[in-house]
């Protein structure tokens, strides 16, 4: 484990050195992701000029909702920084045969393929997320208990684990299909469902979507569970959701690992 940690830190250091070599580009990338984020925030601010709450009696009024958005920013920035750049490279590696070089190294292939690159500029959004969380929580009527603050980082990790598993599953699909240029598209469209509180999915169409995105692809647990813990009082339902998030995180890590191993076993090199 220590060996993997030190290897990861070496990778991270190399990426940081690279980013700092092209400092203007790094700053531009930070501005890029901050630009998209501000645009979304502006949209939410606009929505709250028309309503005081998202969904009737759901409790997602302005400040709790921004705590929700902040939680999403933090989780997504961790995933985007640590795993996404490596996963994007995988698509090309399968096609060109570069994957072979990874497979012959005395390291776990999943570790190498999902963590060899760190995109530090993605942490910019996460920092804004932390600031936004502080602002939203300080203005909320309800103040989270110490237990909630303890659970929050743990549940953030669960969210990251679920998203990481999703990336690994998509990576496995890339290996099986040989080519999957829309990996990032799939990722975008799937995670899109995690962007808003689960309560908005109600009615004859919303109910099944909520079930599907909670129990089959647990994408709705990613942001909803930690955000709910920090923005609303802990109730019986919250404890059920916390348990669900923990189980979903563990199960998705395990299943994605198995699927990834199975995909690697089927991999046939493209190079000579």
């Amino acid at each position: 484990m220590n060996r993997y940690l030190s290897i990861f830190l070496t990778f991270a250091r190399a990426c940081l050195v690279r980013d700092m070599t092209f400092r203007a580009n790094f700053l531009l990338e930070c501005v890029t992701s901050l630009g998209w984020m501000s645009m979304n925030l502006a949209f939410y601010v606009l929505i709250f000029t028309f309503t005081s709450e998202i969904g009737k009696n759901t409790g997602w009024s302005k400040e709790p909702f921004f705590a929700f958005v902040a939680t999403g920013l933090i989780i997504n920035s961790i995933v985007q920084a640590l795993f996404m750049p490596s996963a994007e490279e995988l698509t090309e590696m399968v096609r060109t045969g570069g994957l072979d070089a990874v497979l012959v190294q005395p390291l776990d292939a999943q570790f190498m393929l999902s963590m060899h690159r760190v995109d530090f500029s993605s942490f910019a959004n996460g920092l804004v997320g932390v600031g936004l969380l502080g602002w939203a929580v300080s203005r909320m009527d309800y103040q989270p208990s110490p237990v909630a603050w303890l659970l929050y980082p743990l549940l953030i990790l669960c969210g990251v684990a679920i998203l990481y598993s999703l990336i690994i599953m998509l990576a496995a699909a890339t290996i099986l299909l040989g080519r999957n240029q829309s990996l990032y598209d799939f990722w975008f469209y799937l995670t899109n469902f995690s962007r808003y509180p689960a309560e908005i999915y109600s009615g004859p169409w919303g109910g099944p979507i909520r079930m599907l995105c909670t129990f089959v692809i647990p994408i709705l647990l990613v942001v909803n569970v930690p955000a709910r813990v920090i923005a609303m009082p802990l109730s019986g339902e919250s404890w059920g959701l916390i348990a669900a998030a923990l189980i979903a995180a563990a199960a998705s890590l395990l299943i994605s690992r198995l699927v990834f191993q199975a995909a690697l076993a089927k991999y046939r090199s493209a190079s000579s």
Binding site: T32, M39, T49, F50, T51, E53, G55, S182, Y189, I200
Partner: protein, 296 residues
Amino acid sequence: MSLVSAADQAPPPAAAPPFAGLRIWFTMLAICLEERLVYRGDFIIGTLMRFLPIVTQVFLWTAVFNATSKADIAGYSRNDIVAYYLLTMVTRAFSSMPGLSGGIARSVRDGSVKKYLVQPVDYVGYLMAARIAHKLVYYLVAILPFAGVFYVCRSYFPPVPDAVTVVAYVLSLTLSFLLGFFMEATLGMLGFWFLEVSSIIFAYMLVQYLLSGHMFPIDMLADIPTGIAGVSAAEVVRWLPFEYTAYFPAAVWLGKIQGATLARDLAIEAGWVVVMAVACRIAWWRGTRRYSAFGG
């Protein structure tokens, strides 16, 4: 190593027999059509996936309407909003030009643009033919998922508007295609001046996404102050060309813009097309004049 100066290799004037230009153009169109049809499977899946973000938007707005007691927001009922988002998908199918500006800038950077300088083919004309082919194939395949989604969501739409509105709608869509094309082509031509335009393209996309009405109907900005007395954010956006690439045709179909205002706005849209087409031409002329390529 040879040096090709673009000024020496400017496209020859059209001294060919009549309709020769048209024939070349149709040949280019046919080639591009065949090229695009190779990836039809990708197209169908890609198109269906593109409706997914709308699903979340529909649920979000439904939740907003549930929470407020208002029947409409900025003149839009919940059904109007759903119809609006679906209609902006149609407009974007006409006005969005994926890869156009990036492709032009790349061809300038890697030098492949020089083949259009030495061939008796007009580059902008070629790009237009390629884009129309791209769009035709896209519509050919995308009509199925679009028709399916619109059929399922038919109850959200108001009754089919009168003939004048339908004609105005089709006109606004056609103009939105031309406007989108010339705006992005001009943007790509900036590659003659700045070799790397990805950050400019990004800034454009950001502004475009926010101000075109892709995220929300522009009418919702009517009460947002700009700091200038008596001028709302909506009025500022109305002065820019972006709203014609998503908001305007959708608003026309929904009957939000009618009568004299409709005629005036269509004229403004046509005006923007002319402005951007001229800008694109000027950028091409000036750009090729300063362009120089090295190597074989």
